[in-house]
């Protein structure tokens, strides 16, 4: 006998207020115990589909809804929102805005407290879920101080407290490195083995294929294709490119080494020690490496190694504790480096200040001769000129990121530092960023990238610097002869 249908979406269309139609005549049935992965380009309607399942639509987000959504046999519109919360556990993408409590055990307990569960039962479940998720030692820790992987484990434990039959996740691996992603995959496999139904909206597919029953592909608000994992693996690279999907397998795909791509030395670090604050212990010491003009270098290492602190030190936001950072052969102070470098942070929202795209690009360059012409040229190159009068906050994620690139390039920097530029991007946008980085490097700008994304490393980088245990441990050229070693370093788990 087939398991019963737990989610039945029939001919659903939905349009948020003041927005275009996000879902168009979508139908999807999910049986109990199934794992369904929803993928597709950014803006294709994946998140909206998850909101239908966890009841946020129509109970929280208002808009025009047609068609029917049945959850465990009941019409979602007729069910109390809080009743849906008992049936469906939700894990969201952004850890900053999904945690309600400040302490881990409080966050895991939160759902049970809301549903009036007995305090002793809550305590038992909190302890058991923490044990299963490998976070028992973190129960009294502050949520905001955890690594991304630990936060994701807390989010999953929190969603499981009331033992819902169905778990819905929106890009759960977006901020995770490869080891944390593998741990997430193990946790999901255990949940599926325990009979839970899983619906996961995701760009990264490689870690979900072993447990997925089917992969639903969305485009422009419609379900445009559906594959089994075997069928997805059989798609050609051209087909994946056409669908805008990321590679479903982990592995290097490299051209042979290109000789003479990099130019003269741009920056050299000699015996540098760095710390995140004046009164904090150094996180990296005796750091020695050099960067050349036009070179693209990846920085990798386990979470918490000090990669972002290193990037902030190099660009001058933090002073080095000891040692020398030289540019053009001369020791260069932090405040001087700040003028010559540009740092594109992971979340573009923080880097945009003005009320239009053009003003954003011109900010701090208003008095410079030729700046308006340069801004126009840059915006045209990056496909943003048509949007020049739009408010930056109204742009899509990819457009915001390109605007931050434009802002940085207005400074005519010698070097660009990028922090996880492809996290949360679909295959098409990821490949677009790879091309953009290569194009910028070809103009002689040195590009330093903090990343866990193997597709970015193998697509854009010339060299990989690997940090662990407070030291630079390895420098590996990213070329076919060293691909396996580079892959091993990206996947390294322990700090």
């Amino acid at each position: 006998m087939k398991p019963r249908v737990i989610v039945d979406i029939r001919n659903v269309s939905f349009q948020y207020q003041n927005s275009r139609e996000q879902l168009k005549q979508v139908s999807l049935s999910v049986r109990e115990g199934e794992c369904v992965v929803v993928t597709g380009p950014s803006g294709s309607g994946k998140t909206t589909l998850t909101r239908l399942v966890n009841g946020l639509i129509p109970h929280f987000y208002e808009g025009r809804l047609s068609g029917t959504v049945e959850l465990d046999g009941g019409n979602a519109g007729d069910l109390e929102f809080s009743a849906i919360g008992r049936l469906v556990g939700s894990v969201f993408q952004d850890s900053r805005s999904q945690f309600f409590a400040s302490i881990v055990e409080e966050e895991i307990a939160f759902c049970g407290e809301n549903y009036g569960m007995d305090a002793r039962v809550i305590r038992e479940r909190v302890d058991r879920l923490a044990e299963e998720g490998g976070i028992a030692h973190l129960l009294r820790s502050e949520v905001h101080k955890l690594s991304s992987g630990e936060k994701q484990k807390v989010a999953v434990a929190s969603a499981r407290l009331t033992e819902p039959a169905l778990l819905v996740m929106d890009e759960p691996s977006a901020n995770l490195d490869m080891p944390a992603t593998r741990q997430l995959a193990e946790l999901l496999a255990a949940l599926k083995a325990g009979g839970k139904t899983l619906i996961i909206a995701e760009h990264r597919l490689y870690y979900l294929l072993p447990l997925a029953d089917r992969i639903v592909y969305m485009r422009d608000g419609e379900i445009a294709a559906e594959w089994t994992p075997t069928e997805l693996l059989a798609l050609s690279p051209e087909a994946l490119d056409e669908y805008g999907l990321r590679s479903p397998v982990v592995g290097p795909c490299l051209p042979d080494a290109v000789e003479g791509r990099a130019g003269e030395q741009r920056m050299a670090l000699r015996q540098v020690a760095i710390a995140p604050g004046r009164f904090r212990r150094p996180v990296l010491e005796e750091v020695d490496f050099a960067l050349r003009a036009g070179e693209v270098v990846a920085i990798a290492g386990p979470n918490g190694t000090g990669k972002t602190t290193l990037a902030k030190t190099i660009c001058g936001l933090i002073r080095e504790r000891s040692g020398t950072i030289a540019m053009g052969g001369r020791p260069t102070k932090a405040k001087d480096r700040l003028r010559k470098l540009w740092f594109v942070m992971q979340d573009s929202d923080y880097q945009l200040f003005a009320d239009s795209v053009l003003k954003e690009t011109m900010l701090s360059h208003e008095q410079e001769e030729g700046a308006p012409e340069r801004a126009e040229r840059l915006l045209q190159e990056l496909g943003l000129w048509e949007l020049r009068d739009r408010h930056p906050a109204s742009l899509s994620g990819g457009q915001k990121q390109r605007l931050v690139f434009a802002v940085g390039l207005m400074k005519r920097p010698d070097m660009l530092i990028l922090d996880e530029p492809t996290s949360g991007l679909d295959g098409r946008n990821m490949r677009r960023v790879v091309k953009l980085i290569r194009r910028i490097a070809d103009t002689g700008v040195t590009v330093l990238i903090i990343t866990h994304d193997h597709e970015l490393v193998f697509g854009a980088c010339d060299r990989l610097l690997f940090f662990r245990n407070g030291r630079l441990q390895a420098e590996v050229p990213v070329e076919s002869g060293h691909a396996a070693e580079a892959m091993r370093l990206i996947e390294t788990t322990t700090a």
Binding site: N54, G55, L56, H59, F60, Y61, F81, S82, G85, V88, G89, S90, F92, D94, R96, S97, Q98, F99, F100, A101, S102, I103, E105, E106, A109, F110, C111, G112, E113, N114, Y115, G116, M117, A119, I122, R123, V126, R140, S141, E142, H144, S158, T162, K312, C315, L317, L338, W342, F343, M345, D347, D349, Y350, Q351, L352, F353, D355, L363, S364, A393
Partner: protein, 231 residues
Amino acid sequence: MSRRLGFDPRIQLLVVALTTAASILGELRTFPWLIGAVALYLAAQGIFKPTIYFLLAAACLYAIYVWSPPEPSGLWTVGVFFSLLGLRMLPVLMAAVSLGKAPSGQMISALRAVRLPMGVLIALAVGSRFLPILKLEQEAIQTNAKLRGVSAASPRNWLRPLRTFEYTIVPLLMRSLKIADELAASAATKGIDHPGVKTSLYPVALRRRDIVALLVYAGWLAVVWGYGGWL
């Protein structure tokens, strides 16, 4: 980090209310006694670092107020205005910090016992959780502002106060709106507006220390209020 054991959220809310009344109605010369009492109240709950920062801020504000000329003009006018405003707000902020550290489940459960409307409860719980997130957001925005050369911490931007204010506040507002929306959605999927009885992972009961703390604090305010002139 081990969890701090604070006073019952109902007592904490009453302390905020009493402090707000004292800050609005009290004379400025009594404020050292008020701020000192709230500092002790925080320290008794193991909140040390923020207490030290608050006391330093109070000392700075007092210094501006005391050393200002009798008839201030120019920059002094701005300084005196902000020192007076800051001194009046500081004790309330201090008391609110304590409430903000109460576990959300315990807070909702305790405040439901005094029959506060659910909307008020949720607003209080969300508000208290939102402040620490806002602080992290502000730090991230200021790092980027420094990179763009529009940081409020840079003296050259003090000459363009309106622009600097805009570049400090607007991104924070945009982020706040987004986070508030997502936080509310997340809490809603976890049953925050479930109409039934709420429970708490931690025991919710008024203990002797809660009652003693409230009586001592209220008594102290009465003494300061009555004898503030010569204390």
